[in-house]
Amino acid sequence: MAKTDVSAAGPLPETAPTGAGRSIGDVFRAAEIDARLVGMILALAAIWIGFHILSGGIFLTPRNLWNLSVQTAVVAIMATGMVLVIVERHIDLSVGSLMAAVGMVMGLLQSDWLPSAIGFDHPATWVIALVAGLVLGAVIGGFQGVVVAYVGVPSFIVTLGGLLVWRGVAWWLASGQTIAPMDSNFRLLGGGSEGTIGGTWSWIVGVIACVGVVALQMQRRRERARYGFRLRPMGIEVGIAAGACVAILAAIAVLNRYYLPPLLAERRGAPPGAQISLGLAYPVLITIGVTILMTVLATRRRFGRYVYSIGGNPEAAELGGIKTKRTVVKTFALMGTLVGLAGAVQIARLNAAVSSLGTGMELSVIAAAVIGGTSFSGGIGTIPGAVLGALVMQSLVSGMVLMGIEAPLQDIVVGIVLVSAVAIDTTIRRRTAV
């Protein structure tokens, strides 16, 4: 009987699902790879290749990709914090205005207040200004968090108020004047031809990153082995490590192929014809650091666990003994700190603090988090996803600028992509939910 079954043509309904019957989702799960993140990387690759072809081959160039990396930094830094805010079922509409207010204080510190005390371009100026910005951001963010958590005003309202208040404060601080120039050390935070770590250091950072990836994987494997848990197949383990290292080093190689313009190189005393690699810009380095730190905070610390559990079920978190209100305040304070950091990068890039700094940027930040897979129903979202979301958004804008598409059409495209991305995500989530 068995023989007849096997030789019979067509599907065998009674056979247990084997390797051939496994869906892509199962494969990803077995390999413990975040399918959503892979999907986003593929989407980003499609956007890049598409723009490269449409723009006549000027998108995927070291110069454009270098600029893209720097342009993405400010939104990406804030998006990492916005993920946690949205995961907690809150929202922060004040980030653009807060950035202006904090940026204005940092600008005034280095161009006005500190020079009268310690002189202009003092070596300590940039540290004082930066720390002041981070602390001020944390305090204001934390204050908004207190009103949300303890007074019970919905975060939409609190931060909508913040959007108006901090914009007004930014204008009022300098009566709407532009504050410039910035301290020369501080300016490095914004990137530019000076604000990079150069070719050699970029390679060193790349190699350290590769070593870090491999070390983390080995440590995780050892730990799982210690408890006798199922391990990832060695081939997949090696494949992931190799893939990550190739990606890291390729990115460094591309950024290192963007050279200092000859005129600037000569001014720095380089021999004529010498090619000086720009490599990783400081804002990009900051973004990478923030992404790693925030990912650790979100996934490996109690704080992150609490943020996600509050988002998943606020009542359960409360009954579990979590200090939910304190966690909400911390989340908003963290968001404010990141706004301060992003503001520092932004005024350093512009070499000026203006009261219109970051106008409308709250929407870009929220869009980046949402395109990155953060769900407004709470509890779901990842930090690397949000950074990728910021990169997708900036890629769209940058690509359309290269193609000479006018601004109104750019907005239309970005808007459609935002809604489509969430529509696709929601559909997939509904289909795969068990």
Partner: protein
């Protein structure tokens, strides 16, 4: 044996004259109940009788407006779920109170995560502990890495129970522990409740199901409209008498044959 005898006589929990009001409504109006180690006290009553509200004052979910709670004869102040947990009081809520978006180990250890020396979450240790726990509670349980939203009702119940028993609870509050379960799972939970009692844990069991309560409880406390009708030894009463308490608020001695006839 004498030692056992005296420890048996020390009340594990004593709730005296508990009052909780919402607005002008007295949800719980001067109720006193108690619990001994290794005992199951069934808490029954119709909808809105105040069972859950009473028990939430013990679990720290909603502090009492007035009244006293004594643990081991000592007065205690329970304002938050954390306070209750510190006293060894664990609660399995009717809603289960799980964070659906995170996995089973994360839910079991929610609020009490295992961390490494440097304060990082020790996910492997938590998964390992959860696996061992489930071996005891529900050997068929396999989903240790999926969000609990993808689990069945019985599996979710297992997670909620695992969370309550892992931390060496001395007092367990179970609010409708079998409401969402099928017959086989209900039987498993009943076995588990008996096992926990044999380990010396005191259990408050809230249930709509009078048979559930009769099957498991040593004593039964009946509430009606926020007040305690009375507490009876299960062996001294029958189901009809308890039903009379629940519905009419009449104690066994006061019930007439006519009342019983009316119930049917």
């Amino acid at each position: 044996m004498a030692v056992t005898e005296t420890s048996q006589r020390t009340r594990l929990v004593e709730m005296r004259n508990i009052r909780v009001a919402f607005g002008g409504v007295h949800a719980v109006d001067g109720v006193s109940v108690d619990l001994y180690p290794g005992e199951i006290v069934g808490l029954v009553g119709g909808n809105g009788a105040g069972k859950t509200t009473l028990i939430r004052t013990l679990s720290g979910a909603h502090p009492a407006d007035s009244g006293e709670i004594l643990i081991d004869g000592e007065p205690v102040d329970i304002q938050t779920p954390r306070d209750a947990k510190h006293l060894g009081i664990e609660t399995i809520y009717q809603t289960l109170a799980l964070a659906d978006n995170i996995d089973a180990p994360a839910n079991v250890f929610l609020g009490r995560e295992i961390t490494t020396r440097f304060g990082f979450l020790d996910s492997s240790a938590m998964e390992d502990a959860t696996r061992k726990l489930m071996q005891r509670l529900n050997p068929k349980f396999r989903s240790f890495v999926a969000p609990v939203s993808s689990l069945s009702g019985g599996q979710r119940q297992s997670v909620a129970i695992a969370r309550a028993v892992h931390f060496n609870a001395r007092i367990l509050i179970m609010d409708e522990p079998t409401a969402a379960l099928g017959p086989a799972e209900t039987a498993e939970v009943r076995d588990l409740i008996r096992q926990l009692r044999s380990e010396g844990i005191g259990i408050f069991l809230i249930s709509h199901d009078i048979h559930d309560v009769f099957d498991l409880s040593d004593r039964i406390s009946v509430m009606l409209q926020g007040k305690l009708v009375g507490t009876v030894d299960k062996d001294d009463v029958n189901v009809d008498e308890v039903l009379a308490m629940i519905i009419m608020g009449k104690k066994p001695g006061e019930v007439t044959q006519k009342d019983i006839a009316e119930l049917h």
